[in-house]
């Protein structure tokens, strides 16, 4: 079981996030996507295995490198994707992994819209809901949250994932490839902690335009 944390200039926050993860999970791998700050070193000190892209490629590429690395570990049964900005709860990740194992569900997607804990604000809610509608139309999977960085993927599921979009379109790409694999999946209610930091790094509406065009143009 490996936790995959893509990092890109996340030095401000990555230390405590990784420390907390390493406290609950034996294996944490950070993929440093060509950061110019000390984030990689901080993640290493916090107890993570750190892989470094020599140049910045985008979060999708960082995740794929993480998936490749996990697939190389013979004892790895599951991978959890977890954002470095501290917006996810480790407790949610633990519960999702438990569910994946006990009910043998290969894919668990985190969703912030299954309960009332998360309040993204009106504007973000509108953008995220549009993304959900787009993802449903594009992939056929009836998700409630399309861009949640917290996911549990079994080894079987990883075998079906090959991210070609280096940028931010990977969330829809993962859903699409899981849809094609016909593997069983479930959503699990998670909370997103909105901090000033995660807000500043969040996705804008402009980015959704890029995502749509990326996916259409391949």
């Amino acid at each position: 079981m490996w936790v995959i944390v893509p990092i890109f200039n996340e030095g401000e926050v990555v230390g405590p996030v990784v420390q907390n993860l390493a406290h609950h999970f034996a294996n944490v791998v950070c993929i440093d996507d060509g950061s110019s700050d000390k984030g990689a070193e901080l993640a290493r000190q916090a107890g993570a295995r750190v892989l470094q892209h020599p140049i910045n490629l985008g979060q999708g590429a960082a995740l794929q490198t993480g998936f490749d690395y996990v697939m190389q570990q013979p004892d790895a049964t599951h991978a959890i994707t977890f954002d470095a900005d501290g917006q996810h709860l480790v407790r949610d990740a633990l519960e999702m992994l438990e569910l994946a194992k006990s009910e043998r569900i290969p894919v668990i997607f985190g969703s912030r819209f299954l309960d009332k804990r998360t309040n993204p604000g009106l504007w973000k809610r509108v953008v995220l809901k549009l993304a959900v509608l787009f993802t449903r139309a594009f992939t056929g999977l009836r998700l409630t949250d399309a861009h949640n960085g917290l996911r549990v993927l079994s080894r079987d599921a990883l075998g079906f994932i090959r991210l070609e979009q280096s940028g931010m379109s990977h969330a829809t790409e993962i859903v699409n490839q899981i849809a094609k694999s016909k593997l069983a999946w479930r959503e699990y209610p998670v909370e997103i902690l909105y901090t000033d930091y995660s807000r500043s790094k969040g996705q804008s509406l402009w980015n959704s335009v890029n995502i749509v065009i990326d996916l259409l143009l391949k």
Binding site: N27, I31, G34, R49, L51, Q52, H53, P54, I55, L57, G58, A61, Q64, T65, D68, Y69, Q72, E164, S166, L216, L217, K218
Partner: protein, 117 residues
């Protein structure tokens, strides 16, 4: 008018090219043939300048210059799309390379200190 049809179709073809996913041998062949034909046509147009005007009026365009302008617009668009696709392909290759490097580095580290995580 015939010319409007031809131009519209040419533009649609450029758009379709943008949406095509893979580079294939046939595609490469078409691009090369296109270049050869363009050069040959240009050569003929230089040697017999009247031909462009003749062809233009046959197609329903006023002057030969206008025909050349339209052809140029279509070609420039085609070129932009072609370069865009090349660039995206290049990005993909670079990404594969960088990702592979990250993995190999990790493997080297593992060999150097086998117990280290």
């Amino acid at each position: 008018m015939i010319s409007q049809w031809i131009l519209a179709i040419a533009l649609v073809l450029v758009g379709l090219y943008l949406l095509r996913a893979q580079r294939s041998a046939s595609q490469q062949a078409i691009v090369r043939l296109f270049i050869i034909i363009a050069i040959a046509t240009g050569f003929v147009a230089v040697v017999f300048p009247n031909l462009t005007t003749l062809l233009a009026s046959f197609l329903g365009i006023g002057r030969g210059t206008d025909l050349l302008l339209y052809a140029l617009v279509v070609f420039v668009l085609f070129h932009i799309v072609h370069q865009y696709r090349r660039q995206r392909w290049q990005q993909k290759v670079t990404a594969e390379l960088a990702r592979a490097l990250a993995i190999v580095r990790a493997e080297i580290e593992d060999v150097k200190k086998p117990s280290g995580n």
